[in-house]
Symmetry: C2
Subunit: 349 residues, 2 copies
């Protein structure tokens, strides 16, 4: 039977708690299936940094890259921890993985599940997916400063965008749209970022010409945030750059019931590198170890992972079980493990 | 009596309609006051560009700069108009004015007025102000591309940030906080944009040390969008960069009842150049000429203009009249002029 080598990075804060439940669900859904998961655990994150001074060594990276897929909880220490002042766990670990493993698609579905309640008075039906570029834009780390720390400091950040990088993610987004409601919205800020925005627009127009079955529109990022709260039902597939995607998906998560439910996949569609699945939420160190974090986002990330591995049946079972669990919620407090157990029980039922 | 030289730029689309009402209100509120407004109208925007090919000439700019203040409606033609393909009215006119007139504070109050209804189920009390930097960041126009239009295109955009530019807007924000509820939130993305974000953070920390009476916190821009829909009442003063401010204020406008109500001031606090007041909304060419645009944002921008000119009593009267009008709305459709007339009548009452 097929063996999937899975790298597991529980990380910091609530990461280990939610990953434990995600693994529980994963183990349950593949019981009796023609696939087994061989897991390797990687101790990475703020805790590891504080112990050893390492964020992500070349050896770590090579070892992770030798897997078929990665499941990540969340990384990052307590904000303001003076011992982490010189560490940048986000850049040195999370973004380093996304860039080194060429995760050029950051796939973030936003669904308002029946029973989930968000902040909107009349949310309507919400079911869209954000295809966020993952390896370019303002995230490339192409910044610097001079006269640093003085009143004459100049700090620059350069957003780097390539036709190569934009075209591949745009093509992925069109393919998603064809599997969905055939509507694609480009979000950028073409009126201000005329060079990067102009190139995104040109490439979307070019690829659109090859996909006459997909309806395409464009929104400036500021206008897109308005529609996310006034008419989220208008969206099917959003394709956008790394930074705008970061912002829109947190907002989308809030609108669809909170980032406790928002799953994501950092995907290398070419298969040259393992893809990495993680909840959109962070490590939330303030509530860590209390068994109060919602593991649903991590569990739905397992569904994305299964889908990516071609295990569509298993992916759908996980999504359905999580969906039923959300629908059954009545406000009674449950521990992280109780939510994981409940979803696992539904899977087995 | 005092004479204020006011440049009026009605602009495109609904701009002229809402500016007409804003002027009506301005004329009414200064009746009998020790001040007169000497107005010069500037025909600028997409319409002017289509007629003459000019966006903003040096003569226009010099003439506008010789005024005490500017009232602007909205500029920008019909999206996708092929005749505007090579024009960038936003960059060439609106942003050029903001940069040339050194509008380093873009002040955008967000208030949920009684009677106004936004998309949130439980909005709570919302009353904050965004102090958006107006002359730096990703808006500087420091971008370019090579191999443009080919599959090998590289398009870069550089965000330029200076300690000088950040410190002056941060000081303005702290002064605002001291006049309000003494709480200031810096919004940036320090974990990714480490150089620009690091400088913003350092300067806010330094200025905070001089203002022990102001409580300061920090949010990443993605998290800030979540709080804007789940707990907008937590905000008093937000200080942020040009692009993040653009995004947050559209979202904030939506949350407080729509950008039909959102006013803004592009302010040069030093008084070296005239400040410019404009609704946050755009020219909305699709609904132009139909007398269905809400002029309230333009009218509230007049209140900001009066306040900036030191006419606090008049500013408060305009705000109160607009506020009462909003509170009295019962869903009956009114024309743009009817809303302006109603607010004018309240002023006179
Ligand atoms: C932690 C941070 C670097 C990251 C990002 O900005 O991409 C996070 O916000 C996310 O959305 O996954
Ligand atoms: C029209 C555009 C250039 C402008 C901006 O991005 O600043 C607008 O969105 C605004 O917020 O005033």
């Amino acid at each position: 039977s097929r063996v999937v080598k899975l790298a597991v990075i529980p990380g910091d804060g609530i990461g280990p708690e939610v990953v434990a439940e995600a693994e529980k669900v994963l183990d349950a859904v593949i019981e009796g299936a023609e696939v087994t998961f061989e897991k390797t655990r990687f101790s990475l994150g703020a805790a590891r940094y504080l112990e050893t001074g390492d964020t992500l060594t070349d050896e770590d990276l090579a070892a992770i890259a030798a897997h078929d897929a990665v499941l990540l909880g969340a990384v990052g220490g307590m904000p303001g921890d003076p011992r982490l002042k010189d560490a940048n766990i986000e850049r040195g670990l999370l973004l380093k993985l996304r860039f080194a493993l060429d995760h050029y698609v950051n796939l973030r579905p936003s669904v308002l599940y029946p029973g989930a309640s968000g902040p909107l008075a009349e949310p309507g039906e919400i079911d869209f997916v954000v295809v966020r570029e993952g390896t370019e834009g303002p995230y490339v780390g192409n910044g610097g400063s001079i006269r640093t720390g003085t009143p004459h400091e100049i700090a620059n950040e350069t957003s780097v965008n390539t036709a190569f990088g934009v075209e591949r993610v745009v093509r992925f987004a069109f393919a998603q749209a064809q599997k969905r409601r055939r509507k694609l919205t480009l979000v950028h800020k073409t009126n201000v970022l005329v060079h990067a925005g102009g190139m995104w627009k040109r490439i979307v127009d070019e690829v659109a010409a090859e996909h006459p079955d997909v309806a395409v529109d464009y929104l400036h990022v500021d206008a897109a945030t308005i529609f996310l709260v006034t008419n989220p039902g208008r969206f099917d597939v959003i394709v956008t750059d790394n930074l705008f995607g970061d912002i829109l998906t947190d907002l989308a998560g809030a609108v669809t019931g909170g980032i406790g439910l928002a799953a994501s996949g950092n995907i290398n569609p070419d298969g040259a590198f393992p893809s990495m699945f993680e909840p959109v939420h962070g490590s939330a160190p303030d509530i860590a170890g209390q068994q109060i974090a919602d593991p649903t986002a991590a569990i739905l990330s397992v569904a994305l992972l299964l889908d990516h591995l071609g295990l569509q049946g298993e992916a759908e079972r996980v999504t359905r079980a999580a969906r039923e669990d959300i629908e059954s919620r009545d406000g009674t407090a449950r521990t992280t493990a109780q939510v994981g157990d409940a979803i696992t029980a539904r899977l087995r039922a």
